[in-house]
């Protein structure tokens, strides 16, 4: 079965200048898409990546990263919209770069499709009633 696994990777500073991801995809038959990447002030690297491939191989690749001391966290539940708080105004719809928010027709409720989310967090800042939260 082909799966897509969204993960937050934390690279210790001794790995920041190494081509870890490039080596990984050469070793395993998987695809990757970098959603976010940054080097933090303490020289640690933070990357949000989607790995796509055969489930077993993706698991092997992720275990390989772990064994190299790369911090690994699944992303799936990272951004959540609390529907008890949301007023369905839709200010997030215009902000989201990947159209992860949309109006359900005909109810006009705002729906969040986290599969499209790249955790840019603009919606978290932009929501006036703080209905969108980051869950670590």
């Amino acid at each position: 079965m082909i799966i897509s696994e969204r993960v937050v990777l934390r690279f210790p500073k001794e790995l920041v200048d190494k081509p870890t991801i490039s080596a990984l995809v050469r070793k395993y038959d998987i695809e990757f898409n970098i959603l976010q990447a940054q080097v933090l002030p303490q020289k640690e690297g933070l990357m949000v990546v989607v790995f796509t491939g055969e489930e077993k191989i993706v698991r092997q690749a992720l275990n390989d990263l772990k064994s190299q001391n790369v911090g690994l966290q699944r992303l799936k539940q990272d951004i959540v919209k609390d529907d008890k708080i949301c007023t369905h105004c839709g200010v997030c719809i215009g902000l989201c770069p990947t159209n992860a928010f949309y109006y359900d027709q005909p109810t006009k409720k705002v729906i969040f499709d986290y599969e499209k989310c790249i955790t840019c967090m603009l919606c978290v800042k932009g929501c006036m009633v703080r209905a969108i939260k980051i869950k670590f």
Partner: protein, 401 residues
């Protein structure tokens, strides 16, 4: 053709035909305004959006011994309330923030708490901390007061909003190359997004564009309770440019509204904060429109394609108070999700909730249909377009004379 008294008689008997503004638009489109005016008695509107000029005043009752908070200082959950009134009357505005809030020192500031949130907590029945300090007098000897209270403990809690319910509003865009944090939300650089704030065809004053049925004394749905139009709102600007149907093409009329906070429902009144801007209150208002003749029906039949809002640049024109407008877009375009400006297609976000506006219009429809809400004839008219009144700018004067 019909009087408000006749419509009220029907409401009392449970025979009034009440429809929401969305339903009325369809009826007028299918049957024409003459037939629609005959068939329909009341059209209900609704709007739900951030409205900064919102506030409450409270009377706590007198503690023993008494204190004169008036002339002293008062905080509600750490948020400053105005204490320049009588002994135990105070006034709290939606945008007030605690004195230790860092504001925009670490730009863009979070503004995580303030007046709007205190108001929401009170409506939800929560206890709020009252802290007052005063100078003490022979008749009011107490100098300090610290106590929790909730709405049920105090005499009066009145929502009074000097300006709500804007008739039409700007569509905000950002022509600069940096992110902007405004009361119209986050605006991405280089026209990255556009935000608007109106319920469009459900918006109370867009359905009654010439204030023909809405006036001082009009009974309204206010945040889940019953309220009234108290006056025209501040910045009321009826003299702006209008379409041939009479619908303003710029921000125009506004309403000052008043109602009992104790009746309100937390679903329809929400504290809110805009990153980099501040705290505010999201208010739900529904105004009933009595269909007294076909003129009223005709206004309710103006489609979103024929209602226009101005696109304004919030990186320059708005902050510098320049009159430039980048273009006009119809509400049909705004609700489609994108607008076209020159050769750009810009994604649109809304600050006003259409979902909640509908809920309000439907709730008011239910109240009227069940005979729980009767219509009122305005005591006085709001200033109309014939007055030519337009909102003034403030010109700075350095000398007294």
């Amino acid at each position: 053709m019909k009087t408000i008294e006749e419509i009220n008689e029907k409401i009392k008997k449970g025979q009034a035909v009440v429809v929401t503004a969305e339903e009325m638009l369809e009826i007028v489109r299918k049957k024409g305004e003459t037939k629609a005016a005959k068939e329909v008695d009341v059209v209900t509107t609704g709007t739900f959006g951030p409205m900064c000029s919102s506030s409450i005043y409270l009377n706590f009752g007198h503690p023993a011994p008494r204190i004169k908070i008036g002339g002293g200082t008062c905080f509600l959950n750490g948020v400053p309330a105005y204490a320049g009134l009588a002994a135990v009357d105070v006034y709290l505005g939606a945008t007030a923030v605690p004195p230790n809030d860092p504001g925009n020192l670490h730009y863009p500031g979070e503004f995580s708490y303030g007046g709007g949130f205190v108001i929401e907590e009170l409506v939800n029945g929560e206890r709020v901390l009252l802290e007052a300090i005063s100078y003490g007098t022979d008749c009011y000897p107490r100098k300090e007061l610290k106590s929790y209270f909730s709405l049920k403990d105090i005499n009066e809690a009145i929502l009074f909003n000097p300006r709500n319910c804007y008739q039409n509003y700007n569509v905000a865009v950002n022509a600069s190359d940096r992110m902007l944090y405004t009361y119209m939300g986050i605006l991405k650089p280089n026209f990255g997004n556009a935000n608007f704030c109106s319920a469009g065809i459900l918006s109370p004053l867009l359905r009654d564009p010439e204030y023909y049925t809405t006036g001082i004394g009009t009974r309204i749905f206010l945040c889940g309770g019953i309220g009234y139009v108290a006056w025209h709102g501040t910045q009321h600007s009826p003299g702006v440019e209008r379409t041939s149907e009479g619908v303003p093409k710029r921000p125009a009329g506004t309403l000052a509204v008043i109602g009992d906070l104790k009746q309100m429902n937390g679903e329809f009144i929400r504290g809110a904060s805009f990153v980099g801007y501040g705290v505010t209150l999201v208010i739900g208002i529904g105004v009933p429109i009595p269909v007294i003749n076909e003129k009223v029906a005709a206004w309710c039949g103006v489609p979103a394609e024929k209602m226009f809002a101005p696109v304004v640049d919030y990186s320059h024109s708005y902050p510098e108070r320049k009159p430039e407008v980048l273009g006009e877009v119809s509400y049909a375009e705004l609700f489609s999700g994108t607008i076209t400006l020159g050769n750009r297609t810009i994604p649109v976000g809304s600050l006003s909730s259409l979902f909640m506006a509908r809920r309000i219009a439907q709730t008011l429809k239910k109240w009227i249909s069940e005979g729980r809400f009767e219509l009122t004839k305005p005591v006085a008219k709001l200033p109309g377009k014939e007055t030519g009144i337009r909102m003034k700018g403030f010109e700075i004067k350095e000398k007294k004379q």
